[in-house]
Symmetry: C2
Subunit: 220 residues, 2 copies
């Protein structure tokens, strides 16, 4: 990640991290109602965040991987309003938010960084709203796969091969569709020769075709 920090800044930055915390697969890092104290930077592992209604309906609001920050939802009310669940064994850096605020008053670069992280999350959610409000099942899945591979690629993984950390049901919850529909869309892409799927292993054979499905216009 290009942060614009020099080594001196980096040293100061380490001060925001109080401790590390391991979270086993299936465990919650925090959950709805918990008192908010810290942001968490994911070192290793993979998380989902989700909100739920009283009558038990659940909406996955995001999937987060190494280098990403979770817990921003807690700032406004001092309590978390969603659950963060590890989808594989994970380790996070605990950053007490008081430290973050104190240090970002001293270091404009850190301050800027914090603002950008929050703004990025707002923009990401805007595009999920577009997905949920305007796109059809296959467009949603195409967008999802492109987004995942792009983020994985930025972390040094393959652009065309990935192992999903989440179930069809969790993908469906994120994309506003049922697990059967997710499965059918995978099968459709596979039949069309766009991807190869074997359970959670996915290999993208034709990225352009995926992009065309996601956005018919720009790649004509």
């Amino acid at each position: 990640m290009p942060t614009g920090f020099n080594t001196d800044d980096m040293k100061k930055l380490d001060e925001v991290v109080a401790t590390r915390r391991r979270v086993k697969q299936g465990e919650m890092l925090f959950s709805n109602g918990d008192v908010f104290t810290s942001l968490y930077a994911i070192r290793t592992g993979f998380f989902k965040t989700c909100v739920s209604t009283e009558d038990g309906r659940e909406q996955v609001t995001g999937f987060q991987m190494a280098g990403e920050i979770i817990g921003l939802d807690g700032i406004v009310t001092d309590h978390h309003s969603c659950n963060a669940v590890a989808l594989e064994d994970a380790e996070v850096c605990v950053m007490p938010f008081a430290n973050v605020e104190d240090l970002s008053r001293e270091f404009p670069l850190l301050q800027r960084h914090v603002h950008k992280i929050m703004s990025r999350e707002i923009v990401r959610e805007n595009s999920v709203m577009m997905l949920l409000g305007n796109m059809r099942a296959e467009e949603r899945l195409a967008a999802f796969l492109l987004n995942l591979t792009q983020r994985l690629h930025a972390r040094g993984f393959s652009q065309t091969e990935l192992t999903l950390r989440m179930s069809r049901e969790e993908i469906g919850s994120y994309l506003g569709m049922k697990l059967e529909t997710v499965s059918r869309a995978f099968s459709k892409f596979s039949d069309d020769g766009i991807i190869e799927v074997k359970q959670r292993y996915v290999r993208i054979l034709n990225t352009d075709a995926l992009k065309k499905i996601f956005n018919p216009e720009t790649c004509s």
Copy 2:
């Protein structure tokens, strides 16, 4: 709004506001691609923010009224990624973001306030994702009406009467449904004696019924 600022703080706070700007109905305060310089606090009037795809599909991402802040989407890339359109003649306070950052380094309360505003937006978008991903047409409209009246009530307006500033199509875009479906849901509520509708005038006759539609469980 309970801000926790004393009068002395408030005076300093005025420093973040560079100028005011009037925006006529239908005009854009900023649009996708514009260079980001400032946040805007709405003094009077009513806005919508929306994102759009290259093939012309539009998603309304929010409706904003007096006292609310828009422009947060621009921080991450230094460019706005959505459009902000005035739905009625409006006036905003222009707050150059550089000022905001400078002053919030000096005033922890302002810093905290900025963080809360961004976090609140993230949490709001989480609940819109729940709406779009899990709810049916009538639940969405009920949630929308309850949210609007609640925000208007906090500003001293009636809890039960309002004049919509947006068209059926804009409501539909926000809620992920077509204008005809919005219209039918209004008619249904009206037939059921829950609301009275006359074009953009809406009067809520039975708030509990609306709440029950929005969330069948909690109000049984």
